[in-house]
Amino acid sequence: MKFTSVFDIIGPVMIGPSSSHTAGAARIGRVARDLFGRTPKWAKIHLYGSFAETYKGHGTDVAIIGGLLDFDTFDERIKTSFEHAKKIGLSFEFIAETANKEHPNTARIVLGDDTGEMSIEGISIGGGKIEVSEVNGFKLRLTGGMPALLVVHDDRAGCIANVANCLAMHNINIGHMEVSRIERGLTALMVIEVDQNIDERVIQQITLIPNITKVSKINN
């Protein structure tokens, strides 16, 4: 089931005009920022399908930038997010792509700063709800509705068990989990959806586990 809560249907409270093209877009931008872990210096935003055709009219562009600046769907500053971006030195570029994606409302955000970069692909599936379909080339299914952990790690035995143990110790229940890898024996990514928001201390502990490269969290 893609929609699990009545508030996916009656909600979100948001700045108009479009739940998929404005609220959903803002959420994709915000997830990208969360995964990156800080406000980026630059961003290249590739838009596909209906996003590419109508992004100006729907405020998709200001919404994604608003999300990158950590604004929520109902934050009035979304309207003027370009000015806010300019003020803090975030440069950005929108690229309307003609290629067809599986879902008509897809955005691929490549973002970075002096110390690193990452790419994330998000889908706005309607009513403001989103899915994250790809992170740094890793295919995944991540609904934006639950808190989630993304753990980049070396593809070694025991990594998954160690992370799961750490969560268990803090009484955090795993609702959904996926593991994928680009190349066997090299890098892999764990996506873990949990029932409650994860404390910064837990993140710190997971970071200390051997063979773990990076831990990001998404709170919803």
């Binding site: 508030f7 996916d8 249907i9 948001m14 005009p17």
Partner: protein
């Protein structure tokens, strides 16, 4: 995932077996899935209701969108109702004007509550705040109205679509109108199965509706589609309360909507390439707003 209902048939059967309102079943399911208390869930919906109320009030004072394409129609309708000469009835037009008010605020990048989407956000509150004046519901019943609408929307979203880009306007305003019709029936004292009949009758009459926003803006024809969605919902609710049933069961109507959406040409699914967006005037408006014609 363990849900209480997957389709309308299960929802209605459960409500009738347990002698509960559809809104009560929806609240129970939300408690089960989220692990939150009834009070927390209730309070969140209460806040959503407040946002809807404020959007209607703001729209009735008169707003205008950035493009200048929409705004002010809600006020025109209220003035017309006040003359006492309306033909289709004051309650119906009041619902229409309040639906328009909400979507005018949405187009002006104001704060709204998506029901189920922003483009279709006017239908449910529009009908709710109009019917309110006739039925004098408690605050609890008004919140219940939103849970019942949410129950039907939940089924549509999981079994078909509520996205114009995926399923056309039938998936947005069509779903919203069906949701509103079901909620009106419940508030008016109809049975759960009558709620389902009202939903089916409404959606049947919005099947095939394309999403063809001029210049890609959620303005033309979105605002007036919300107006007609509200009217459709009220008439269908009255038909269901009169005892009229749909020959095609509600779940099958939802299935038909899904398949129609899948076979709909992409030009007619929120890409602003077909329908009204592709008319000479539609293209002219787009050119004026963006400086170049959108193909």
């Amino acid at each position: 995932m363990d849900v209480l209902f997957h389709n309308v048939r299960e929802l209605v059967e459960l409500a009738e077996k347990e002698n509960k309102l559809i809104s009560e079943i929806m609240i129970e399911q939300e408690m089960k899935i989220s692990g939150r208390t009834k009070q927390e869930i209730y309070d969140q919906m209460d806040r959503n209701l407040n946002v809807m109320e404020q959007a209607v009030e703001r729209g009735l004072k008169g707003v205008r969108s950035v493009s200048g394409l929409t705004g002010g129609d809600a006020v025109l309708l209220q003035n017309y109702i006040a003359t006492g000469n309306s033909l289709s009835g004051d309650l119906l037009l009041d619902a229409v004007s309040k639906a328009v008010a909400t979507n005018e605020v949405n187009a002006a990048m104001g704060t709204i509550c998506a029901t189920p989407t922003a483009g279709s956000a006017g239908v449910v509150p529009g009908t709710l705040f109009a019917v309110k004046n006739k039925l004098n519901p408690s605050r609890e019943q008004m919140i219940g109205f939103l849970f019942t609408a949410g129950a039907f929307g939940f089924i549509v979203a999981n079994n078909a679509s509520i996205s114009g880009a995926a399923g056309g306007c039938q998936a947005e305003v069509g779903s919203a109108a069906g949701m509103a019709a079901a909620s009106i029936v419940e508030m008016a004292g109809g049975s759960p199965s009558q709620c389902a009949e009202a939903f089916a009758i409404t959606l049947k009459n919005m099947l095939g509706l394309v999403c063809d926003p001029v210049a890609g803006l959620v303005e033309v024809p979105c605002v007036k589609r919300n107006a007609m969605g509200a009217a459709n919902a009220l008439v269908a609710a009255d038909m269901a309360l009169a005892g009229i049933t749909s020959r095609i069961p509600c779940d099958e109507v939802i299935g038909a909507m899904f398949r129609i959406g899948q076979t709909m040409n992409p030009n007619l699914k929120e890409t602003a390439r077909g329908g009204l967006a592709a008319t000479p005037t539609g293209k002219e408006i787009a050119a004026k707003i963006f400086g170049s014609a959108m193909n």
